[in-house]
Symmetry: C2
Subunit: 484 residues, 2 copies
C-alpha cells in the first residue's frame, strides 16, 4: 500500500550523510555496546568488562574530575549556594577561592547560567582566554577574535563550513587523520586533499611532499585553500618541532593556504624536553606572518578530560573582518555555546595559582594525572613494540598510539572473505577476545598496504598491566591462528 | 602585496552562509549590544537599560531558575557532595529528594558527567523521556527513537540536513516563521516552500491552501517532502486545535509529507480551556497514521527557560530503520549532546511529584511563573490593541506576540530612503527611543504589504506596566512624527 512506504529512505536522504564515515563510534564501537549489554545481562564471555580504547574519554575510565573545577561549576549551577545566608555552611564544603571564582564568573555571565549568552560566548570568559593566550605565546590576543564553542568538533565544523565555497574547495588533511575532518568535508561536499605523514620518521610532516600534493591538486582544478594540522597528532601521537612549524607557516604564506591547527592535545606532551608543545600562533606572530590561522582547543582533552560538557574555543588570526562578521551570523543561528561548557573553558585557562588555597590540591591532581598518563603512554608503546610484526612510533603527545601491524596472508584473506579491511578484522577479533575496543587504522586512512589500529592509553593504572597483557595474548593467539 | 590579501573573503566563502539571515540576533540586536555598552560606560540616553524582547531568554530578564532542578544539577556537578562523609552537611543544604535524584542520575550516567555519553544521549534519560511521552499521549514511546540534543535548534538542523537530498528538496515552512528554518534551509541549499498562516483568523492554518501550495511547488519541479509546523506558534503565538491537527496529519498522509512538529512551547499555553496543547504524536497514534513525524522539545522554553544549557530532544515516529541508523552515524560525529543539558531534560520531563519533599516549592514556582506569564501575555496583547493602527491576535501560547502595525506613508518613505523595511525602521526607532529591542516582522517573513514586529512578554512583572507604557509612548510619538 502506497501510504505505508516511508517518504524518507536511505536511498533518498542527503547523499553526503550516507557517504560519511566515522569509525571512532562506528561498527566496532557499536558492537562493543552490544557486548556491554550482554555482560550486564549476565552472559558469560572470556572477559569481565568492555574497555573503550576507541575514544579519548578519560572520565569514562575512572579518571576523576579536577576538584576545583567541579566545585566552581556546582556553585554556579545553584545560586542558593552563593546566597549570603548560606555562607557559613557552604564554606565548610567549599574553599574560599572556589567561592570567589564562582562569584566572579556569575558577575561575568551577568544574570544566570540559564540565559543564552552572547553568541560568541561570554565576553569576560573570552577575555580570560585572551589573557591565557598572551601568557602562553607572548603575543597579543583579541577577545573579539575568539569564539567559545561546544567542543573543538563543533568549531571545526563551523570553520570548514564557512570555507566551503563549492565542491571544488579543497582542504588538505593528514593521512592518517582524525575522521572528524573527512566526515565533515564529506557532509559539506568539499574535496579532501590527503597528504601523508611519514611513519618511519615518527609521523613527521615533509613540506616538499606537501607542496607537490598542493600543486597536483591545483592542476587538477581543485581550489586548495586550507591545511589541517593536528598537533600533537591524532591518531599518530607525534609532536611537531618548532622548525617544522616555521616551515609549514612559510609554506602556507607562499602557497596561499589558511592554516587550521587542531591543538586540543597541547598539554598532553610526554617528551617535554626533546619535543615541547609550541603553538602555531606563537610562531606565526614571531614570523610576523600574514597567514590566516584558526587554532582549536577543547576542555575534553589535556588532564581535564571534561568531554561530557562539550566546551572549547577557537581563535582566528589575520582573518578578514567581513568574514568574521559572517562567522558571527553563523554562530548566532545556534544562539550560543552551552554556558556550563564556557565556565569550564574559563577554569581550564585560568586555574588556581601558586598562592591560592586550592593550588596544592589542583597541582597534585594535574601532576598526578600527567605523570600517570606519561607512564601509561610509554608502557603501551613498549608493549606494542614487543609484539610480533608490530612497530609503534614514540608516544610524544595526545592520548593515542597508532601501531603498525603486519598481518599474515591468511588473516588478510579471511578479512577479505568477510568484506572487512584486515585491520578491522583484527580489531573485531580483539574486541571479541578481550573486550578491548580499538579503532582500525582504515578508519583514519593510511598508506596503502599498511595496517594499523588506534588505541588510547587511558585504562586506569591499576589495570594497565593486565590491559597490555590481554592485548599481547590476543595478538599472539591471532598470529598463531593465522600463520600458515 | 599579494601575501597580504587574505585567502578567505566575503566573496569566496560558502555562499549559503553569506545568504543566510537570522534577524533574532541580527542588526537591531547587535545595535542593542552597542547601546548596552554605551550605558555601561555612563553615557546619558533617554532610558536606563536595554530590554531584550528580541529573544525568548527568560533568565536574562530576572526569571529565577527552578530550585529543585538546579539543586540536582549542582549535586551532579560536584561528586564530593554525594560522598558519604559529606552527608550531614549536604543534607542541611539539599532536600532528600534532590540528593536521591542526583544519585539516580549519576547511576544512569554511569561514570561521570565529564564522560562522553552515548551519541543519542544517556539511555536512562531517554527512558525517562519515553515515560513522559507515554503519560502525556497515552501511546507507547521507544527510547531508541528519541535523540537528546543540544537544544531544539540543533535537532532541527540535523533533521533538515538528513532530509536534504539536493537543492530541489522542498520543505514547507510557515509564514511568518521562526527564522531558524529559513536560515538552515539556506545553509543546506534546500528550497523553502512558504505557506501562509491566516492572521485574521488568529494565525490559523488552512489545509486547502496548503494543498495548493504543495501542488504548485511540485508542478514547478520542487521535491516537497516535509511540512514544518510550529505549535504553539513562533512568532505568532497561536495554538492549533485538535481538529486542525487531525486535518494536517491526514493531509500529510495523502500528500506524502514528513511532519516536523516544533512543539517547544507546549507548556506555554495561556487559554488552556478553549485551546489546550495537543501533541501531534497523540493525534498521529490516535489515527494510527503512517505519517513520519519528528517532534522537537527543549529545556529553553516552558516555565523552565534553561536556555544557556542547550538541551532538548526529538522523537521520530514511523521512520525507516535504515534512516535511523544514518541519523545515529550523523550524531556520532559530534560525539554527544552536553551532559548537563541532558540532566535538565530528565528533570523537565520528570519533575517532583505531589508527595515528594520538593513538590510544594516546585509547584509554587511553576504555577507562579505560569500565572505571571499569562498575565503579562494578556496585558501586552491589550496594550498593543490599544495602539493607533495596531492589531494583535490573541496570546494563546509561546512567549511572543506579533502585532500588525500600519505605518504612515511618510514613515514608509523614510524607511525606503534608509534602505530598511518599514518595520525594521520602526523597530530601530523603538530601540533608540526606549531601549526595548524587538524583531521586525520582515525578519520572519510576512504577507506582502503588511508590517509587524515580534516582542516577548518576558520583562519582569514589577517593570511590566512601565514597559508597556514605554512602547505606547514611543508608538504615539512615532505616529505623530510621521503623520502628514
Amino acid at each position: 500500500m502506497v501510504a505505508n512506504t516511508p517518504v524518507l529512505t536511505v536511498d533518498n536522504i542527503n547523499p553526503n550523510i550516507r557517504d560519511m564515515e566515522y569509525a571512532v563510534r562506528g561498527r566496532i564501537a557499536i558492537r562493543a555496546e552490544e557486548i556491554r549489554d550482554q555482560l550486564n545481562n549476565g552472559e558469560q564471555l572470556p572477559f569481565k568488562a568492555v574497555v573503550n580504547c576507541n575514544i579519548g574519554n578519560p572520565q569514562q575510565l575512572e579518571q576523576k574530575p579536577i576538584t576545583f573545577f567541579r566545585q566552581v561549576a556546582s556553585l554556579c549551577e545553584n545560586p542558593e549556594l552563593l546566597a549570603a545566608d548560606k555562607e557559613a555552611i557552604v564554606s565548610q564544603l567549599y574553599p574560599s577561592d572556589a567561592i570567589a571564582r564562582a562569584r566572579k564568573l556569575m558577575s561575568m555571565i551577568g544574570s544566570s547560567t540559564g540565559a543564552y549568552s552572547h553568541s560568541q560566548g561570554v565576553a569576560g570568559i573570552r577575555q580570560t582566554v585572551a589573557r591565557f593566550l598572551e601568557e602562553r605565546d607572548g603575543h597579543p590576543a583579541d577577545p573579539n577574535h575568539i569564539y567559545l564553542t561546544q567542543g573543538a568538533s563543533s568549531g571545526v565544523q563551523s570553520i570548514l563550513s564557512i570555507m566551503t565555497q563549492n565542491n571544488q574547495t579543497g582542504i588538505l588533511i593528514p593521512i592518517p587523520q582524525y575522521p572528524l575532518y573527512s566526515a565533515t568535508l564529506t557532509l559539506l561536499g568539499a574535496t579532501p586533499v590527503p597528504y601523508y605523514l611519514d611513519e618511519d620518521s615518527g609521523w613527521s610532516l615533509d613540506v616538499a611532499s606537501l607542496e607537490k600534493t598542493v600543486n597536483d591538486a591545483r592542476s587538477n582544478g581543485t581550489d586548495v585553500r586550507a591545511l589541517v594540522i593536528i598537533n600533537p597528532g591524532n591518531p599518530t601521537g607525534q609532536c611537531l618541532s618548532e622548525d617544522n612549524i616555521r616551515e609549514i607557516i612559510e609554506f602556507c604564506a607562499k602557497a596561499k593556504l589558511v592554516l587550521l591547527a587542531d591543538e586540543v592535545y597541547q598539554t598532553n606532551i610526554y617528551e617535554p624536553e626533546q619535543r615541547p608543545f609550541v603553538s602555531f600562533k606563537k610562531v606565526l606572530r614571531d614570523l610576523n606572518s600574514p597567514v590566516e590561522l584558526v587554532s582549536f582547543h577543547s576542555i575534553s582533552k589535556g588532564m581535564i578530560g571534561e568531554c561530557g560538557r562539550r566546551g572549547g574555543y577557537f581563535e582566528c588570526c589575520n582573518f578578514d573582518e567581513g568574514v568574521m562578521q559572517q562567522l558571527y551570523k553563523m554562530a548566532s543561528v545556534s544562539l550560543c555555546p552551552n554556558v556550563p561548557g564556557q565556565i569550564m573553558v574559563d577554569l581550564m585557562v585560568n586555574p588556581p595559582r601558586p598562592n591560592d588555597p586550592s593550588y596544592p590540591t589542583y597541582n597534585d591532581e594535574i601532576q598526578g594525572l600527567y605523570e600517570s598518563l606519561r607512564r601509561r603512554s610509554k608502557k603501551l608503546e613498549a608493549a606494542f613494540n614487543k609484539m610480533e610484526g608490530v612497530t609503534c612510533q614514540p608516544a610524544m603527545g595526545s592520548m593515542y598510539l597508532f601501531p603498525r601491524i603486519r598481518l599474515p596472508a591468511k588473516a588478510i584473506e579471511e578479512a577479505q572473505k568477510e568484506g572487512l579491511a584486515p585491520d578491522a578484522f583484527y580489531s573485531e577479533k580483539m574486541l571479541e577476545a578481550t573486550g578491548v575496543c580499538v579503532v582500525p587504522g582504515s578508519g583514519f586512512s593510511q598508506k596503502e598496504g599498511t595496517w594499523h589500529f588506534r588505541s588510547t592509553f587511558l585504562p586506569p593504572e591499576r589495570l594497565f598491566d593486565d590491559f597490555c597483557q590481554d592485548i599481547q595474548r590476543f595478538h599472539n593467539d591471532f598470529m598463531a591462528a593465522y600463520s600458515s
